[in-house]
């Protein structure tokens, strides 16, 4: 598979929490060919990104949906469940970006560890759903993680299949880094820190020069671009017009986000290489 050029943007406009504004923005984001929309923290509350993600799931068909999660105002048990539900609702299109905002040192990392342990509670083939034999699941494949970190202690598991992506994509922001060595995506500035991650997206403005960025992608220096939206309604069509050619060949690509972006399911996430298996019933 050819290496995908990844386009990402983040939004934290307070009006994104209102359906009349959010619906056209989501349509514009998909039309612009974005792979990821990171819902950030708005200065104006309420702006719970996990809730907005759930609403966006049925409104979109291709866009990756990433929630910013502040470690100081969340609990891993709730976060793991919410993102698992959204990953099902979006058929494998979720991600999260844990930020240390307001939290003590180490809390964001602990949040990641605890949620990952919870996602690993049910193996990908735990469900049986056999009406004839009456077996709903295989109890031998359900594990209590009994995770214990410096801030969070969580027995688990959650009562649900693990997410289709294994774990939702973990996105780290170089301007607000957390000490995680195996993130899926890092958003990096031209000069700032470059956290370890499988893929690196360079933060640029919608006016940035397309040809030189493509050259840097081809040289393997970056895997894509990230735009911080300040006026989504105006900027998304502009981004579409200037950058959509970079992702044009993937416009109709099907499949979950890990497959499309060339990100493997994490080693710990599964007792099977594929996604979660939901058996079909007659």
């Amino acid at each position: 598979m050819t290496r995908p050029f990844i386009l990402s943007a983040s939004i934290a406009e307070a009006t994104f929490a209102v359906p009349e504004t959010a619906a056209p923005i989501l349509r514009a984001a998909e039309a612009a060919g974005l792979d990821l929309l990171v819902m950030g923290r708005s200065g104006t509350r309420p702006f719970d990104a996990q809730v907005l993600l759930a609403w966006a799931a049925p409104m979109t068909s291709r866009l990756g949906l990433v929630a910013t999660v502040p470690a100081s105002n969340a609990h891993p048990f709730h976060v793991a469940r919410a993102l698992s539900a959204i990953d099902f609702l979006s058929a494998g299109r979720t991600g999260w970006s844990v930020i240390p905002e307001g939290a003590e040192d180490g809390m964001a990392e602990d949040m990641v560890g605890a949620a990952r342990a919870l996602w690993d509670g049910w193996g990908s083939d735990t469900l049986i759903l056999d009406k004839a034999s009456g077996r709903y699941l295989d109890a031998a494949k359900v594990h209590a993680s009994n995770y214990e970190g410096p801030f969070f202690k969580v027995a688990g598991p959650v009562n649900a299949m693990r997410p289709p992506l294994g774990h939702p994509l973990l996105v780290v922001d170089g301007d607000d880094p957390i000490a995680i060595s195996d993130a899926d995506l890092a958003l990096i500035g031209e000069h700032g820190a470059a956290p370890a991650a499988t893929k690196r997206l360079l933060k640029v403005s919608p006016e940035a020069d397309v040809a030189s960025l493509l050259a840097r992608f081809e040289a393997g220096e970056i895997d894509g671009l990230h735009f911080t939206l300040t006026d989504a309604a105006a900027q998304l069509p502009e981004i579409g017009a200037r950058f959509a050619s970079l992702v044009k060949d993937r416009a109709n690509e099907a499949g979950d986000l890990r497959r499309r972006l060339g990100l493997p399911i994490p080693q710990t996430a599964s007792n099977q290489p594929g996604g979660a298996v939901i058996p079909e019933n007659a």
Partner: protein, 409 residues
């Protein structure tokens, strides 16, 4: 005078009300993992002019003494996420999510429900629970639940604080369409009823028969009046499950067939979970292992003793006790009969003051909901007891409640 209108809620968590329901030929247990399913049932509820869809919630890993049931359908995906996704594919139906005050901070609650309230255009409701299952505590780093009176004390503080935070949000950002979500409650004990009287705008409760409904509603209305609130500002919505048929005999036969889908093993797993003690290794033909149960249960021992002693005294074998236990799910009314008879029953309850409406709990999903919407809803509408269109856009308008009532908690 307009005849008394019946309010309707749809309780759609999981795969239906009967533990054996997931095996029914018209059940789609795989559906609860897909948006298509939620879109379909949400639109169905809206087509049936339901006030709201309600989701319960459990924050514990289901199981009995370390044993995960293999025969019970039991996914509990996060209700706020599911209901918010349903908001995106509907225009009117309200969305009531169960969320615990014991394991959320007021800040988390205010933020989540505030966002849900705004993005749904004012259709959010909060079923306030204090969490009763001891296995929840280890998921939040604790060994035990706080005692019940402490949980209710905390609930009062958390609700009051969350309401303050919503007022602040309402002043600062775009308006919250309802000011705050509709406050719903489902506790049964004196503590729970007292809390409901001070706080709730709607109450979800069990009522096995019309007399129980009248007693509960009278009790709650007088408690509401005692704290200086208007009882007409509170909707009482007992649970109602049903199995419909072309005749009463047919409905009874269908009901029996659904229950027959459950074998001894399922019944014993259901009982195990309800008693908080793994009984799956015991002989269904043997006696109820009372000592083991009381020794090992993680639930309050006195409650469990009360549940098993009568059967023990009669010498009922374990399997038979479990099968019988499964037939009487949690004190809710289970109606068996024709759609006409069901409409008659609902009107009778409403006119007798046994409720303001019902929380429909389909026996299996989505077939049980489809049957009700297709067969009973049109009868209620024809008789002028159920709306044919929504009066406004917010849940509060749909429930006929005044715009913003102060919380006295």
């Amino acid at each position: 005078m307009m005849e008394k209108q019946i309010h309707l809620w749809a309780f759609l968590q999981g795969i239906g009300f009967f533990p054996s329901g997931w095996m029914h030929e018209r059940a789609r247990p795989e559906g609860v993992f897909s948006m298509d399913y939620y879109a379909r049932v949400a639109k169905l509820a809206e087509q049936g002019c339901f006030d709201a869809i309600v989701f319960g919630d459990q924050l514990q890993s289901r199981g009995a003494g370390g044993h995960t049931p293999e025969r019970m359908a039991m996914p509990t995906l996060d209700p706020v996420s599911l209901l918010t996704a349903m908001a995106a594919v509907t225009d009117h139906v309200g969305l009531v999510a169960t969320v615990s005050t014991s394991y959320n901070t007021p800040e988390m609650l205010a933020e989540r429900f505030g966002a849900m309230e705004r993005i749904s255009g004012g259709r959010a409701g909060w079923n306030i629970v204090t969490t009763a299952h001891p296995a929840t505590a280890p998921n939040f780093g604790e060994d035990d639940l706080p005692p019940k009176d402490e949980r209710y004390r905390r609930a009062k503080e958390v609700v009051a604080k969350a309401c303050e935070l919503w007022s602040a949000m309402d002043r600062e950002g775009p308006m919250l369409p309802q000011g705050r979500p509709v406050l719903v409650q489902a506790g049964q004990s004196p503590d729970g009823r007292d809390f409901a009287a001070r706080t709730a705008e709607a109450i979800f409760c069990p009522a096995a028969n019309i007399e129980a409904g009248i007693d509960f509603r009278n009790d709650l209305r007088s408690r509401v009046a005692d704290v200086g609130r208007n009882p007409d500002g509170v909707r009482i919505m007992p649970g109602l499950s049903c199995v419909l048929g072309g005749s009463e005999e047919e409905a009874r036969a269908t009901h029996a067939a659904i229950l027959d889908l459950a074998d001894d093993a399922l019944a014993i797993e259901y009982l195990s979970e309800s008693l908080g003690c793994d009984l799956t290794a015991f002989d269904p033909l043997g006696m109820i292992p009372v000592e083991t149960i009381l020794d090992q249960t993680i639930l309050p021992r006195a409650d469990i003793a009360r549940a098993i002693t009568p059967a023990q005294e009669k010498g009922t074998p374990l399997g038979a006790f479990a099968a019988n236990f499964m037939r009487h799910p949690r004190g809710h009314n289970v109606f068996l009969g024709t759609p006409e008879q069901m409409a008659d029953m609902m009107i009778e309850w409403r006119d007798a003051g046994a409720c303001d409406g019902f929380t429909l709990q389909p026996s299996y999903m989505p077939g049980g909901l489809e049957d009700f919407v297709e067969q009973v809803v049109p009868i209620l509408q024809k008789r002028g007891r159920l709306r044919t269109e929504y009066p406004g856009t917010t849940l509060r308008e749909t429930l006929g409640l005044s715009a913003r009532e102060a919380v006295t908690a």
